[in-house]
């Protein structure tokens, strides 16, 4: 049996020009391997400005033209080429964008949700369905006639979610669904996402907010400088973090204000200065010789996928 969506060794880079047209290669995602199944939420956790959104764009096939992409993305075991991506986009694979800024400011909410439909009969059907879904999310008929700027943060979030649901998607990619919302709205959004999962949807949740990731997901993939360094069960983010195997993941968990607010030395460099070898070795307390010149491959340790030569054990 194949998984719903499998990503293998996906790398995305850009060549950028700087002052005087000096050219530099900027790697935003490197060697990314992960998969999602139905009834599952996989959170992709990375610091902001890291280009995690590009992962969503790559799956949807809407990367800018100067992006260099390698690796493969498979939908139910079938390799996704540009044609298949276009066919699935908005149908089987839906996207919940970061903010209302992704909506057309000059179009009413309803028109954006249903999109352009030529056939009158189809249109009626889809309008009916749109109303049903909007009702489920307590979006009144007034909302249909509103323009995006009239929506409050929480309402906009609901509009974006319900719009994504119109075509009965199998996979949803949600890009930073919680920031900028107040506590109540965050809770509601999280509930909505979990509900969708229970209905059978497979979801990739892209976020920089570790709390959102912990509260919604089944598994969490942690990104560091564009590399996946660990994919672990969400329930391992508990206790003293003893089940987290990568040194960065564990210090991330233990640095949370609600756990230990623990201080770790070293800082994450910028994408233009990704170190050779393991991207984390400069800050790692457990570095060994290999870490300096060799990139560790992803491997499985006790059910966790990890990119580390010298992972922590449960006793450490």
């Amino acid at each position: 049996m194949s998984k719903l969506l499998e990503i293998e060794k996906l790398s995305i880079s850009f060549s950028q020009y700087f002052k005087g047209l000096e050219q530099r290669e900027l790697k935003v995602l490197s060697d990314l391997t992960m998969d999602v199944d139905d009834h599952e939420i996989l959170a992709v956790l990375g610091s902001s400005g890291s280009g995690k959104s590009l992962l969503a764009h790559a799956i949807l096939g809407i990367l800018p033209s100067n992006a260099k992409v390698s690796g493969s993305i498979r939908y139910k075991g079938k390799e996704m080429d540009d044609e298949l991506k276009e066919e699935l986009r908005g149908n089987k694979i839906s996207f919940i964008p970061q903010s209302v800024n992704n909506l057309n400011p000059l179009m009413k909410v309803k028109e954006q949700a249903i999109g352009y439909i030529k056939d009158e009969k189809d249109k009626e059907k889809i309008i009916k369905k749109q109303r049903e879904i909007f009702n489920q999310y307590n979006l009144s008929e007034e909302v249909d006639e509103m323009y995006p700027f009239q929506l409050s943060g929480g309402m906009a979030r609901k509009v974006l979610i319900s719009t994504a649901l119109l075509n009965d998607p199998e996979i949803i990619i949600a890009d930073e669904p919680t920031p900028g919302l107040d506590e109540e709205a965050v809770k509601e959004t999280i509930n909505n996402l979990v509900e969708l999962k229970e209905k059978g949807i497979g979801m990739i949740l892209i976020t920089h907010d570790i709390n959102t990731a912990i509260e919604t997901s089944d598994r969490i993939a942690i990104l560091y400088l564009g590399y996946v360094i660990e994919i672990t069960d969400t329930k391992n983010f508990s206790g003293e973090g003893e089940k987290l195997l990568h040194p960065y993941t564990r210090s991330l968990y233990r640095a949370l204000p609600e756990t230990y607010f623990e201080l770790t030395e070293g800082h994450q460099p910028s994408y233009q200065n990704i170190p050779k070898g393991c991207p984390y070795h400069e800050n790692c307390s457990r570095q060994i010789r290999e870490c300096h010149y060799e990139l560790p491959e992803l491997r499985e340790v006790n059910g966790t996928i990890i990119r580390c030569f010298n992972p922590l054990g449960e006793g450490d």
């Binding site: 610091s47 902001s48 943060g153 107040d182 640095a255 607010f261 201080l263 770790t264 994450q268 910028s270």
Partner: protein, 201 residues
Amino acid sequence: MDVLKVENVNFNYGSHKILTNLNFSMENNQVIGLFGDSGSGKSTFCKVLTGFIKEYEGTVTINGEVPQGGFNPIQLIYQHPEKVMNPRWKMRDVLEESWMPDDNLLDEFGIKREWFNRYPSELSGGELQRFSILRALNPNTKFIIADEISTMLDAVTQAQIWDSLLKLARKNNVGVLVVSHDKKLLNRICDSIVYLSDITE
């Protein structure tokens, strides 16, 4: 002892009331958390405090005096450090615009000398935020207003920058107003927490 006092501040944006009759005071040995929902006017309050917004009613005073001209003793640190740095300046110039700390302090903030010759676009968000914090902690600064300064950073970096900031602030007797939507963070680092809804009408 320095006292920052905000009295009867009102601020409207058109006919939309954002801050109504706001009263607040703190001392320079305090670290106070300010909590409020998004859209409640926290950022507007920060801008009023630091003089970024000047068209408001009411008064903001330090020891009974309105700060005037020259270096503002109330300094704001932003959520997005890259927005408060001239993109064509090297980091040395960015820091020097305020002051040049000694080597010890640079080390304490984990700032490497090689970064001085780079442009803001060449550093990570965490690295830039260290610069903007150190820049705000000029010897003439009496109060720091930190508006969601670690929201965009990962937890490890968040713990680091708060540790450095608070150590230096306590040493120099600088009062810190920590504005955040993250109550757990405020509980960790603040002496007391104020709700924006409690200090406005």
